[in-house]
Amino acid sequence: MPVAGSIRCWVAAMAEPLLQAEALVKRFGGLVATDNVAIDVQPGEIHALIGPNGAGKTTLVSQLTGNLRPDSGTIRFAGRDVTRLPTHARVRLGLARSFQITSVLREFTALDNAALAVQAHDGHSFRFLADIRRDQRLRDLARRNLETVGLGPRAGVLASALSHGEQRQLEIAMALAVAPKLLLLDEPMAGMGIEESQRLVELLRGLKQRCGMLLIEHDMDAVFALADRITVLVYGRAIASGAPDEIRGNAEVRQAYLGEEAS
């Protein structure tokens, strides 16, 4: 397989991965939710993480973001050990996340949501008197991020009034605001129609130059359309990792997960 081989060479040639998790273990009582997993993402790469429900994908991502602490193993991001760093500190380093469950601030407008995201990366917010609605720089940056994801015309709408797909787009606009080096996308296509999914695939493809992505997704069309590499997680273990063609052809993966979908 020449394509897979060349990608692997290219990967090996990179100096240091953007994100590198090694030997991660996370137990919940007797259940080993993350079983000695190693995963890395290169700059400008989309690395997809797939696996059946309950495989421990979200648990793994939560450790990468800092919402959960691994029992053992290390996580390096952008050249430093972040294993013990709290979430907000990791975000500051450029590790942004969009949520599996849509998680925008429902009582705020789309623009306010995007502006808060910009504000998060704009020094401290211990400013008590100046009116944020008159902060043109903040608003302009927020508006630009909304336009990037195609939500420009919906800026003034309450987030709770946006459609499901639009809320997803807003999530990504918010993730962009923190100038991420790496985006962790937790099932961004979940609950979307075909058309909405296709639009999101285009959007993510366009964003690839800006930042690396770790994509957790059930929608195999989207995964195979976007991913440079795929890692398959089953029962907390990474059973395979490689280029899309390689994964498609992997017997163990087909048996464990892809099943008829790939055949």
Partner: protein, 325 residues
């Protein structure tokens, strides 16, 4: 100023402007109609509005139901009382010390209680307030359970707090200053973080906001304004007692905030007016219907609150039309 004009065209703007105008000239009215008692009711309304506004900062904007807010009033009051008893009569000393102590206390208990959520937060703030309550009861040197008569803070050459009208106007100006601060706070960077964390804490953390720190500062800030209300209460009656920080008072404050409209700028004012109006006028009204019924005014007040909680979730503020921004 320009943005105040359109606000005046809404029912909320008109009602609020009229209320503020009425409060501004209240001492003139009570003097003209020789109703000195009404001025003392007015003073209490204004002071409790400040207290409720300070609770609204954390409860309304932050979504943190503190059930121990009266402790800050007590700390403010007792700081003035103890300093006065020890011979430090100057308000220039008493007031900053009182506020500083309350802010320090707010930082301390905030650092502990903000690690909890929901009902645990309610319980732990209540527990800390009870701690201060029993501490003050135990201060035998400063009156213990009976409380402490104090002389009012002195601001020589500036204002005489013994004069009822001057004192009222001072309270009113401080209320306006507090509400002004709140109005700026809501739309500031800090206010957005606080409100964002109320809306979705996980999301705000994921965005990179250290939510805990912002809440802690809000808590301490609210404590400072609470202490201001306590200072004024102490000066109003020239008296402090543990009763001013009993859990009942903390409950009253929550009732005032909920009654007025959680998170509404002028909600604490509406709530305090309604609360004291009911407390003052419902008993005589019931007595008119039947002698002796007045004692049981809370039997009417309770269900009234339930109705507000069920059907007017935005409190009195929501009766004035939809809120903007």
């Amino acid at each position: 100023m320009a943005e105040l004009l359109p606000a005046l065209r809404t029912p909320r703007g008109v009602v609020t402007a009229l209320l503020l105008l009425l409060l501004a000239v209240l001492p003139l009215l009570t003097q003209a109609f020789d109703q000195r008692y009404l001025l003392s009711v007015g003073t209490r309304i204004v002071i409790w509005s400040i207290a409720a506004a300070s609770l609204n900062m954390i409860l309304g904007y932050g979504g943190l139901v503190s059930f121990g807010h009266a402790a800050f009033l007590g700390i403010g009051g007792y700081a003035v009382g103890i300093l006065s008893a020890e011979g430090f009569a100057s308000g220039w000393l008493q007031w900053p010390v009182a506020i500083a102590v309350a802010v320090a206390w707010g930082t301390l208990i905030g650092a502990l209680s903000l690690r909890t959520r929901g009902v645990y937060f309610i319980m732990i703030t209540l527990a800390f307030a009870q701690l201060v309550y029993y501490l003050s009861s135990g201060l035998a040197a400063y009156g213990g359970d009976d409380g402490l008569n104090i002389s009012r803070s002195r601001f020589p050459g500036l204002i005489d707090l013994r004069d009822k009208a001057s004192f009222y106007w001072l309270c009113f100006v401080l209320l306006c200053a507090t509400l002004w601060f709140c109005s700026r706070l809501v739309h500031s960077r800090f206010g957005y973080v606080l409100r964002g964390a109320k809306s979705n804490e996980l999301r705000m953390t994921a965005l990179g906001f250290p939510v805990f720190r912002y809440r802690l500062v809000a808590f301490a800030l609210a404590g400072g304004f609470g202490a201001l209300a306590g200072i004024l209460l102490a000066n109003d009656g020239a008296y402090v007692s543990p009763a001013m920080m009993s859990w009942v008072k903390s409950g009253d404050l929550i009732v005032i905030v909920v009654l007025g409209g959680i998170g509404a700028l002028f909600g604490p004012l509406y709530g305090a007016i309604a609360f004291f109006a009911v407390e003052e006028f419902l008993p005589p009204l019931l007595n008119l219907m039947h002698r002796g019924w007045g004692e049981y005014w809370q039997i009417v007040f309770g269900p009234l609150l339930v109705i507000i909680a069920l059907y007017a979730r935005g409190g009195l503020d929501s009766l004035l039309g939809r809120r903007h921004g």
